[in-house]
């Protein structure tokens, strides 16, 4: 017996078993209800946006890997997440060609030039969206109403705008709750916001489904719960104080929580593991900064929405947070200061 050649490996010889690809896949599953609700409420146009961004991300990653002589990394599912997230932040009537370009940019400029998965400084989906916002300011702020009767039989006028052409403005457009408040001072009821009975970006409308997806990931230990909690608590407390000081000028805190991209951003964008700090305290500081910036931009900034810039800015300082916040190592009296 035992003529067989033994294998050898280094210890530990057992692993916990949850793989990076498992985590990524589960994030996709957690996003699916939100995506399905988006298609349900906005119809075929929203479906086209999601398909365009996801396809663009996956194809870009695949071909960039190929051209640079590396093995394709699409099997880790992270490109799918970027694609879905980008699509969910765009208006449902966004022209498909623009959405596709956003996906290409998200992967190429947001992820690949930094070295691919694990090296991106910013959340790639938000990089894509920021570029789109700068390039197509009108298209990205033209909102399409939800629950149109013909949403499953026809596309919005702008969906199939010819490449490199600006879309003609839809005959029917809607105002988002945030722009309604910013420019007309109308407060949408929190109940409508939570259930998604509103106009908004493709996937930013139903806060309840986004929360459920997040809770699923947190329960499976695949999402750092401290990040969304820190962000949402900060926004709630800060806007609560402002609303208490002047109820006319500042919106109620629940409105702030459930409107715009805050839920999607707090749960699925700010929690990008690569672009967020690694220690528990660092993560709380990071979440606080995002929450603070969201309130500042929304209330005092020129834009109705500030989640994207808040997260991108916090991504940029996250390496510095990690450098400054270092847990005390066992047996030492003080953490060693970084360079």
């Amino acid at each position: 017996m035992l003529n067989k050649t033994l294998n050898i490996s280094t210890s530990p010889h057992i692993v916990k078993g949850i793989g990076t690809d498992d985590i990524m896949q589960n994030v996709v599953w957690a996003l699916l209800p939100t995506a399905i609700f988006a298609v349900y409420s906005f119809g075929l146009s929203a479906l086209m946006v999601l398909i365009a961004t996801t396809a663009a991300c996956v194809l870009t990653e695949h071909y960039l890997c190929k051209f640079s002589g590396k093995e394709s990394t699409i099997s880790d599912w992270s490109a799918v997440i970027t694609g879905l997230l980008l699509g969910l932040t765009l208006p449902p009537n966004f022209p498909v060609w623009m959405a596709f370009i956003g996906g290409v940019i998200a992967i190429a400029l947001g992820k690949f030039i930094f070295g691919g998965l694990g090296y991106n400084v910013f959340n790639p989906a938000l990089v894509g969206r920021a570029v789109l916002q700068a390039a197509f300011p009108v298209a990205i702020t033209t909102w399409y109403p939800a629950f149109l009767d013909n949403r499953f039989s026809s596309f919005s006028v702008s969906t199939f705008t010819a490449p490199f052409m600006e879309p003609t403005v839809d005959a029917i457009t809607g105002a988002t709750p945030l722009s309604a408040f910013k420019f007309d001072h109308v407060v949408t009821p929190a109940y409508d916001l939570a259930l998604g009975l509103i106009t908004g970006s493709t996937g930013e409308t139903c806060a309840v489904l986004i929360l459920l997806g997040g809770i699923y990931l947190i329960a499976r230990n695949m999402m750092n719960w401290r990040i969304p909690v820190a962000i949402l608590v900060t926004v709630y407390v800060l806007s609560g104080i402002l609303h208490w000081v002047d109820g006319q000028a500042y919106p109620p805190p629940l409105f702030m929580l459930f409107s715009g991209g805050l839920m999607l951003g707090a749960l699925f964008m700010a929690t990008d593991m690569v672009a967020s700090p690694i220690t528990p305290l660092g993560v709380v500081i990071y979440g606080f900064i995002i929450g603070l910036l969201v309130v500042v931009i929304r209330i005092w900034g020129g834009l109705p929405e500030g989640v994207m810039y808040a997260i991108l800015l916090a991504n940029a300082i996250s390496p510095h947070i990690d450098n400054l916040i270092r847990p005390r190592v066992y047996g030492t009296t003080k953490s060693v200061k970084g360079s």
């Binding site: 017996m1 035992l2 067989k4 033994l6 294998n7 050898i8 490996s9 280094t10 210890s11 530990p12 010889h13 057992i14 692993v15 916990k16 949850i18 793989g19 990076t20 690809d21 498992d22 985590i23 880790d76 070295g115 691919g116 998965l117 694990g118 090296y119 750092n224 593991m273 690569v274 967020s276 690694i278 220690t279 990690d322 270092r326 847990p327 005390r328 190592v329 066992y330 047996g331 030492t332 060693v336 970084g338 360079s339």
Partner: protein, 449 residues
């Protein structure tokens, strides 16, 4: 001060690998058959190898001295069986290095009676005499480290030992050696503790046991001899609870300083099986001849806790217990810190606490290593609060000095918790082992020049 006392009695972080202990923890220790030929490497402990005092062809009696200690940090070796020295030649060891070794052929019909030496009398012996007795008995840490116990017990000038910590944690999955020793050798353990208290001058002894061995904790508690300053402390199940530093923190709330030893916080830690061995051997002046080894894992047919003569070839052991056709890897020690065996012609040595056999389907699948996604799982696992993610990235860039100076690399005791949890399957602890050895090498060359 109420709040301060509320401290949970365990260390920070850690991991919870599946235990798999129920497969063998109910099986009493059984005597393993004597192999027809046993092979004794001289380097089976940390320190200088033992020096052979017998010649080829010589007949020896069980318990007879075969090799004397090769220095202070070294121990002698005794004959585990009565037989004839067939050959003295280089033999393979687990590390891959060859070591001088003795091939001992058993007398087929010997009664295998043990030869006694000079007893160490507990009442009259001085601390020095006890330490000498422990060295003469060839005792090393049986938990796996195989560091000569008398060296560890020697309290340096100007230091004081107030607590003797008996380590009955056994946090490695699969292993039940210490568990069975505690259940079956309580008397030896308490005798051993008396010797150890005298040798270290400690005021009291605490036996630390993980909560998954309540039966052993209850039994030992009930058997503490009247008037002995011994207590039993049960701590939560968590890997690596059995690490000396973690155990001290869990039980006493003291932190061993970075780069220091337990004695720096007035503690000496001794493994429970080592303690039992001391209690059994010293009253007779005998040398260590056999040890308890858990043989387990999905690839083993007759799992169990066996009393195996030192030097029994691994091939013989696995033949006796029966191994699955699909055997893939064999580990000496537990699956978290044990070493994969490349050669079945090595022997059971004093530090072998377990043999774990994995088949093809049990071996971890690590073909695909993803980049670090900074998920922080390793940061939440590291028992000494290092940042393995950062250290791993620095290791890739070969920034070894920065790892050591800025990120406390040298404090890593290689428990493997980071690699265990890493979703990207990055062999972090392996990076750190290599990095540490490079830093050490560079430091010695720096000192030399």
């Amino acid at each position: 001060m109420g709040l301060l006392n509320f401290r949970k009695s365990t260390f920070k972080h850690g991991v919870h690998p599946p235990e798999h202990k129920e497969e063998t923890n109910g099986l009493p220790i059984r005597q393993f058959p004597f192999a027809p030929l046993i092979i004794l490497p001289m380097a089976q402990h940390i320190g200088a190898p033992s020096q052979i005092v017998v010649r080829e062809g010589q007949e020896v009696v069980r318990g007879q001295l075969l090799a004397k200690a090769g220095g202070y940090v070294s121990v002698p070796l005794h004959a585990p069986i009565s037989g004839t020295v067939r050959k003295i030649a280089n033999v393979p060891t687990i590390s891959g290095k060859m070591s001088l070794g003795i091939f001992l052929e058993a007398f087929p019909a010997s009664s295998q009676e043990v030869m006694d030496g000079t007893p160490i009398d507990l009442e009259t012996a001085t601390a020095e005499e006890i330490l000498k007795g422990i060295q003469d008995a060839g005792i090393v840490g049986l938990g796996g480290a195989a560091f000569p116990t008398h060296v560890k017990l020697k309290v340096p000038e100007g230091k004081k030992c107030d607590v003797l910590m008996i380590n009955g944690i056994e946090c490695e999955p699969y292993l039940t050696t210490d568990h069975r020793v505690m259940l079956e050798q309580a008397e030896d353990i308490f005798v051993g503790i008396r010797y150890l208290l005298k040798a270290t001058g400690a005021e009291r002894a605490i036996i630390g046991i993980e909560a998954n061995k309540q039966d052993a904790a209850g039994l030992l508690e009930s058997k503490i001899p009247e008037g002995d300053p011994v207590t039993v402390k049960v701590v939560p199940v968590k890997y690596p609870q059995g690490s000396e530093k973690m155990l001290i923190t869990s039980v006493l709330g003291r932190e061993v300083p970075s780069g220091g030893l337990p004695i720096d916080v007035n503690v000496v830690v001794v493994n429970v099986a080592t303690t039992a061995e001391i209690g059994r051997l010293l009253p007779h002046g005998r040398g260590i001849q056999e040890r308890v080894v858990t043989i387990t894992g999905p690839g083993v047919k007759k799992k169990g806790n066996y009393l195996i003569p030192i030097g029994t070839p691994l091939r013989y052991v696995l033949d006796q217990v029966g191994v699955d056709e699909q055997v893939s890897e064999v580990y000496m020690g537990g699956p978290m810190m044990g070493v994969a065996v490349s050669n079945l012609d090595i022997s059971i040595v004093k530090g072998t606490s377990g043999i774990v056999v994995f088949t093809d389907k049990d071996v971890k699948k690590t073909e695909k290593v993803y980049p670090c996604i900074k998920c922080g799982a390793c940061v939440d696992a590291c028992p000494i609060s290092l940042n393995p993610s950062k250290l791993g990235i620095l290791a890739k860039f070969e920034a070894y000095e920065r790892m050591a100076e800025e990120f406390n690399l040298m404090d890593c005791f290689e428990c493997g918790s980071c690699s265990y949890v890493c979703p990207s399957h990055i062999p972090l602890v392996q990076y750190f082992r290599l990095s540490k050895s490079i830093v050490r090498k560079r430091n010695t060359t720096k000192q030399a020049t």
